[in-house]
């Protein structure tokens, strides 16, 4: 398979490390002089930007967490004036203070290239028709597929949240060759296809690019067998760029991290100690080229392991294992991230329920499909009339749907 930017993606490993070192020093200088948060953090911990002379020295810098991003909402983490920012993104479903991520024109240009690298790496060319069935409203990175496809010259059909029937019809009529969506939506389309007894060979589909939620190998197998396609994984981090931090290549031996733009470490989530290659732990990323929203040692909460041996595809960029687990309590339901903390926050705002609650996830095809929230109610609930109870249940459901963008089942009663 072709490599989109061979000078970079297949560069000598030691040269790559030198490039990373050069860029790391620049980003540290920028963060220290332009972001109050980093200057304070450096000064408090006694780290001087001049101490960062090698990639090894990065360990001296404290981690950045999601809490830091929340505490500095809205613009405290920005390294450039707002005037330089051309996009502001606001991930949904985050609890506590929201966060807002800014991008300069250059940031967006890099992002677009990274998605294009992944597309090229799995064989997408200007002959392809890409059906993007991501929710463009909820998944803010979806539009990046359009722009990356333009860079490659492929055609995009943004079918977004059209029903599975419509997706299949378009797939057939437009002769889409690539399906890009969450794996759970791909499964849903697949089931509809089976129910309608459609022959997958009547479709032109041959590649699937899936991400935004964990999907085990077993799911990949099912999708590949039923659609008769090759399915690939794409990875992103909503606080940096999502999608586009890493992606699988044709060798499917892990996801290549774009190390010219991100420096990756894996740490023990409990001790913060850096782990060596091959050991599983929490992925920590440092942006090396981001202008607007540089993040130094950002804890992604995603669990993975890193591998540095050269890949058979010719790329020298490190590979990370597919992310199937998290270090925090976040769960992913049909591609939507749900933080239990967010649910607590919603329940706290409603009279007569909580604080006790439990979550129950129903799986379909080994993927989280439905979320049920069981909420503890104050004792009076059992003395009120049934319709008022239903009304309460509905208001909880509505509030949760508004907050996390997902329809959840709500049950009011005792926690077992």
């Amino acid at each position: 398979m072709p490599i989109f930017n061979p000078d970079i993606e297949a560069m000598e490993r030691n040269e790559l490390l030198e490039l990373q070192n050069e860029r790391l020093q620049i980003v540290v200088n920028q963060a220290y002089s332009n972001v109050d948060f980093y200057r304070k953090k450096f000064d408090e911990t006694g780290v001087n930007p001049d101490d960062i002379k090698s990639l090894e020295d990065l360990k001296k810098i404290p981690f950045t967490t999601r809490k830091d991003l929340m505490d500095n909402y809205p613009y405290g983490m920005f390294a450039v004036p707002l005037r330089d920012v051309v996009r502001l993104q606001f991930p949904l479903g985050i609890y506590g203070n929201p966060i807002v991520i800014g991008y300069t024109r250059q940031d967006l240009k890099i992002w677009r290239e990274l998605v294009a690298r992944i597309m090229a790496g799995i064989g997408i060319t200007d002959h392809d028709i890409l059906q993007v069935a991501f929710n463009y409203g909820l998944f803010l990175g979806a539009v990046r597929f359009n722009q990356a496809a333009e860079l490659i010259g492929a055609a995009v059909v943004p079918t977004s949240i059209a029903s599975a029937e419509v997706q299949l019809r378009i797939m057939q009529d437009f002769r889409s060759t690539v399906l890009i969506s969450t794996p759970s939506f791909a499964l849903h389309i697949m089931e509809t296809m089976k129910r309608k007894k459609m022959d997958p060979r009547s479709l032109s589909l041959n590649i699937g690019l899936f991400g935004a939620e964990p999907w085990p190998e077993r799911v990949r197998q099912v999708i590949e067998e039923n659609f008769k396609i090759k399915a690939y994984d794409i990875y992103g981090v909503m606080e940096l760029i999502e999608p586009g931090v890493a992606g699988e290549c044709s060798a499917r031996a892990g996801l290549h991290i774009f190390e010219d733009h991100f420096f990756a470490e894996v740490i023990n989530p409990h001790t913060g100690q850096t782990l060596s290659a091959g050991q599983e732990g929490e992925l920590v990323l440092t942006t090396l080229t981001t202008n607007a929203y540089p993040l130094l040692r950002y804890r992604t909460s995603d669990l993975t392991a890193l591998h540095y041996e050269p890949c058979s595809c010719g790329r020298t960029m490190a590979r990370m294992d597919r992310v199937l687990k998290r270090a925090d309590k976040m769960i992913s339901v049909r591609g939507i991230n749900v933080f239990p903390e967010k649910i607590e926050e919603v329940l706290a705002g409603i009279d007569g329920v909580g604080p006790g609650y439990s979550l129950e996830v129903t799986e379909k095809q080994e993927m989280n499909d439905r979320l049920k929230v069981r909420v503890e109610a104050s004792p009076e609930i059992f003395t009120i009339r049934e319709e008022r109870k239903t009304a309460l249940q509905e208001s909880v459901q509505l509030a949760l749907r508004r907050a996390i963008g997902l329809r959840v089942e709500v049950e009011i009663g005792k926690i077992p």
């Binding site: 490039l19 070192n21 050069e22 620049i26 002089s33 001049d50 004036p81 250059q106």
Partner: protein
């Protein structure tokens, strides 16, 4: 071709370069831009061995040049055209060019051939070849300085403010020449106040600020970078922070 890693440099106790890390690939034009006193010239002087560096490494064509005498560095192929006093005013143009080849000591025939090449590049110098360099105009003097450097057959040519004090038409001619030298295979490291022109002709650029590298990117990227526009291209912004 050239790899600097964590270079520190001092004037007395004042640190003027802080762990500067950068690289120049063969065939590139790389420019360094930055305000007065940001350390650009010192960096060039460090590379050519005129100013001592502390710590770090300076590798040119896989040879560590730290601690080398300037003439040894010149012999490796690094030539610097300084900002001022770039030619010997009392000497004629011919003598200046001859001195440019001094370290290599080519024979007469070879020398004449090489000079011919310089004259082809700068016809104006041929017309004035017997005049003392002191009688030349600013632009001609810059051309002579470039010609003299070419006589040294550089692999890496370092130019310190080649456009300084020149009329706008001459400036664009000088930059045109710089680019044509690069087309002939000479790698160029350029220090410039004229950020716009420098960015236009450079493959890559580093921005120095009080001895630290604070930005890098392709010339085109930085031409569009708002921070660079504010600092070097005269675009005015009311305040740095507009929250």
């Amino acid at each position: 071709m050239l790899k600097l890693k964590n270079i520190d440099a001092f004037f007395g106790k004042t640190q003027v370069l802080r762990h500067v890390t950068l690289h120049v690939e063969a065939g590139e034009i790389v420019s360094l831009i930055g305000a007065n006193g940001s350390g650009k010239t010192t960096l060039l002087n460090v590379i050519s061995g005129l100013h001592p560096s502390r710590n770090g490494s300076r590798v040119f064509l896989n040879v560590e040049t730290r601690g080398m005498k300037p003439e040894k560095i010149v012999a490796l192929g690094i030539l610097q055209v300084p900002e001022a006093e770039k030619v010997f005013n009392p000497l004629t143009l011919l003598e200046n060019l001859e001195l440019g080849a001094y370290l290599r000591r080519p024979d007469r025939v070879k020398l004449a051939e090489e000079m011919e090449k310089v004259f082809q590049l700068f016809p104006i110098l041929r017309e004035r070849k017997d005049q003392p360099a002191g009688t030349l105009s600013g632009g001609e003097r810059q051309m002579l300085a470039l010609g003299k450097a070419l006589m040294g057959q550089p692999k890496l040519l370092m130019l310190d403010e080649p456009s300084l004090g020149l009329a706008p038409t001459v400036v664009s001619e000088i930059f045109h020449i710089v680019r044509s030298l690069n087309d002939r295979g000479i790698t160029i490291l350029l220090v410039e106040q004229n950020a716009k022109e420098a960015l236009r002709i450079s493959h890559r650029t580093y921005v120095l600020d009080t001895g630290r590298i604070v930005l890098s990117g392709s010339g085109q990227e930085l031409l569009n970078n708002d921070e660079v526009k504010r600092a070097f291209l005269g675009k005015d912004y009311r305040g740095k922070w507009e929250r």
